[in-house]
């Protein structure tokens, strides 16, 4: 029961905070396994490639179908290469709904939630890890209780709040509850707990106040934790569906996730158009992932592990 007391993740942040110079090279040396050392384990490759086909096929199929016409998409036997190539599906997505605006909405809500959480959770997490104030334990306990409760428990009253504020069908309604996160605070607290505090004390002796210590000394050191929080919040915000679904009914205020549910309603089985829409909604995050793979994989795993 006392894991929270001693910083639970000393090795984590110690290792994470150190600039990871060693990178890829070392992974192979520490990667070791079950199967003996042959030149290349072809059987393993075969199984993995079979798995990759299952993982990637839906994306390939989505891409190909988005360039087919309706007849091509419903052809029996299956049509692999679009015949003819039909580029009108993407245009139809924009005709069916304000897709560009939805894209902007998704972008805005993702940026706003992420910026808010990074600033607020980092500050609160730092305070719980390093400051002493009356009621700290009780307040932290309340934060943890939010973490443990399923999100559906908040939805009805959150909706009432938005209704009474007159915020329904605004981007504010989607964004604001997502600015605050018990999970993010907990994540950052664990991170700060695991950092050595000699630097802070040195800064204090030099006359820095709490804010300066936090801003100039601790924040730069907390970068790995902040990256993890950012990745987690970006993914969650971009993909989030239930809450935006509840508070928006005007298409111009919807994010892409809810927009897609509308597209399904409009084009029930017009799969080429549906694939074009879902492809457009997916691509931005996939592109970001391709560029920031390392951060994504580490961040997801790291933040997931504290959930």
């Amino acid at each position: 029961m006392s894991e929270l007391a001693s910083p639970p993740v000393p090795a984590v942040a110690a290792a994470a905070a150190a600039p990871s110079a060693g990178g890829r090279g070392q992974r192979t040396t520490s990667g070791r396994e079950v199967s003996a050392r042959r030149r290349q384990p072809w059987a393993v490759h075969a199984v993995l490639i079979l798995g990759v086909v299952a993982m990637v096929f839906p994306f390939v199929w989505q891409l190909l179908t988005s360039f087919k016409n309706f007849a091509g998409a419903t052809a029996i036997p299956v049509q692999w290469i679009p015949q003819p190539w039909d580029f009108s599906n993407f245009g139809k997505v924009f005709e069916a709904m304000p897709f560009g605006q939805m894209f902007v909405n998704s972008l805005l809500l993702t940026v706003a939630r992420t910026a808010g959480q990074v600033v607020l959770c980092t500050m609160a997490g730092y305070a719980f890890a390093r400051m002493h104030f009356p009621g700290r334990n009780v307040i932290f306990l309340l934060f943890l209780s939010v973490l443990m409760v399923p999100g559906q428990l908040f939805l009805l009253p959150q909706y009432e709040i938005m209704q009474s504020l007159g915020w329904l069908d605004t981007l504010k309604a989607i964004i604001v509850p997502g600015l605050f996160s018990a999970f993010g605070t907990f994540l950052m607290r664990q991170f700060f707990m695991s950092m050595p505090n000699e630097l802070e004390e040195a800064a204090r002796l030099d006359g820095a106040n709490q804010w300066q210590v936090f801003w100039r000394v601790m924040l730069p050191l907390a970068k790995p934790g902040i990256i993890a929080l950012t990745v987690f919040t970006v993914l969650w915000s971009w993909n989030d569906m239930l809450w935006p679904l509840i508070v928006t009914s005007d298409q111009a205020k919807m994010p892409l996730s809810v927009g897609l549910t509308q597209l399904v309603g409009l084009h029930m089985t017009n799969y080429p158009v549906l694939m074009a829409g879902s492809l457009l909604a997916t691509i931005p995050m996939v592109v970001v992932f391709m560029f920031l793979q390392r951060q994504f994989i580490q961040g997801i795993a790291f933040s997931g592990s504290k959930g």
């Binding site: 910083p7 993982m55 334990n137 009253p157 679904l245 549906l274 879902s278 592990s305």
Partner: protein, 346 residues
């Protein structure tokens, strides 16, 4: 633990310790209360970081207010108060014109005698059980990826991870097409082997399984990454010693590797169950309105959404939310109770 272990494996051989402690964090977080309450007392003595600040406590309190205040107020308004309010709502009935009245336990009584809840609980349980199959699958993939000297590990990992960054709504739409009974590519593929598919998502016997398969597909990469991180903390010397003693790869994996990564396995199963019990997005988008198979896939959260935001029956919805809370708590407590039998922390 995974970043822990990934990072550790990149920078230093610390990962076994890291995974153990981070899962400890999860453990205490889930247990909440006691741990948090006692934490700072022990922090003062046991941890080098818990020393009292240099500043006087009075001044520190004002800084703390500044740092914790914004999040504290936000959480209080948008999370803590709503949870209490939902509890209150579960004892009320909302009239057609918005007025609400106290009805005591009536919502719960009606709910428990409503076969729809039993059906939703059964559906959710089946979905959860099926999605647990994703755990051994992820373990196998992670073990294969961890093969010594394997080339292209990074590319494999990226491709397996791809669905994790994909919007569930988009995933659902793509799979709807694949599962289509008339011209879906799955049935055409099965046709190659002379098998006849069905209309997977409108057939009450297959719809839930079909959705759960997509759930496994979508979450596999995340679990693989976590297991891979755990596996990289298993010392090679031990496995090599076992190999010299004549233990084959499968035996080594089952008797040595799995116990050593059991904290990761425990973590993944706790999170999978919590996630599966709350499944909504996939069900909502894959099924669509007027799907004849809907009753056999309605999950607890779907029932909640329907009651609260389609039928505007807040009392019932609130009661469903509390049933869900209890379900999650019971499952989590059970898992923590059972973990002593099979999870090995260093």
């Amino acid at each position: 633990m995974s970043q822990a272990s990934i990072q550790a494996s990149l920078d230093s051989p610390l990962s076994p310790a890291a995974s153990g402690t981070a899962d400890g964090a999860l453990r205490s977080a889930r247990r909440g209360g006691g741990a948090a309450h006692r934490a700072p007392l022990k922090a003062g003595s046991a941890s080098p970081n818990g020393r009292k600040g240099a500043k006087a406590p009075g001044q520190s309190a004002w800084w703390a207010l500044l740092f914790v205040g914004p999040t504290g107020i936000g959480l209080a308004i948008f999370y803590l108060w709503p949870a209490l309010r939902t509890f209150y709502l579960s004892f009320t009935h909302t009239g057609a014109f918005g007025g609400s009245s106290w009805v005591g336990l009536e919502n719960y009584q009606k709910l428990l005698s409503n076969p729809a809840l039993g059906q939703a609980l059964a559906n959710t349980a089946i979905y959860t059980l099926i999605s647990l199959l994703g755990i051994p699958l992820a373990m196998v993939v992670a073990a294969l990826l961890n093969t010594k000297g394997l080339k292209g590990r990074g590319i494999y990992r990226t491709l397996y991870f791809l669905p994790v960054v994909t919007m569930p709504a988009a995933v659902a739409i793509v799979w709807r097409m694949i599962y289509n009974g008339d011209y879906g590519v799955l049935n055409q593929f099965l046709g190659l082997f002379g098998a006849h598919g069905t209309s997977w998502l409108t057939n009450p016997n297959t719809a839930l399984v079909a959705i759960a398969v997509v759930g496994i597909w979508a979450g596999l990469g995340q679990n693989v990454v976590i297991f891979l991180a755990g596996l990289q903390g298993v010392p090679a010397e031990m496995l090599e010693a076992a190999e010299l003693d004549g233990a084959g790869p499968v035996r080594r994996f089952i008797h040595m590797v799995i116990p050593m990564i059991s904290p990761s396995v425990f973590f993944v199963s706790v999170m999978s169950i919590i996630g599966s019990l709350q499944v909504f997005d996939l069900v909502f988008v894959m099924m669509g309105q007027n799907n004849p198979a809907m009753p056999s896939v309605k999950t607890v959260v779907y029932l909640f959404y329907e009651a609260g935001f389609i039928n505007h029956d807040q009392g019932t919805a609130a009661a469903i939310a509390f049933v869900l809370l209890i379900l999650i708590l019971v499952m989590t407590v059970l898992q923590f109770a059972m973990q002593k039998k099979w999870v090995h922390y260093e």
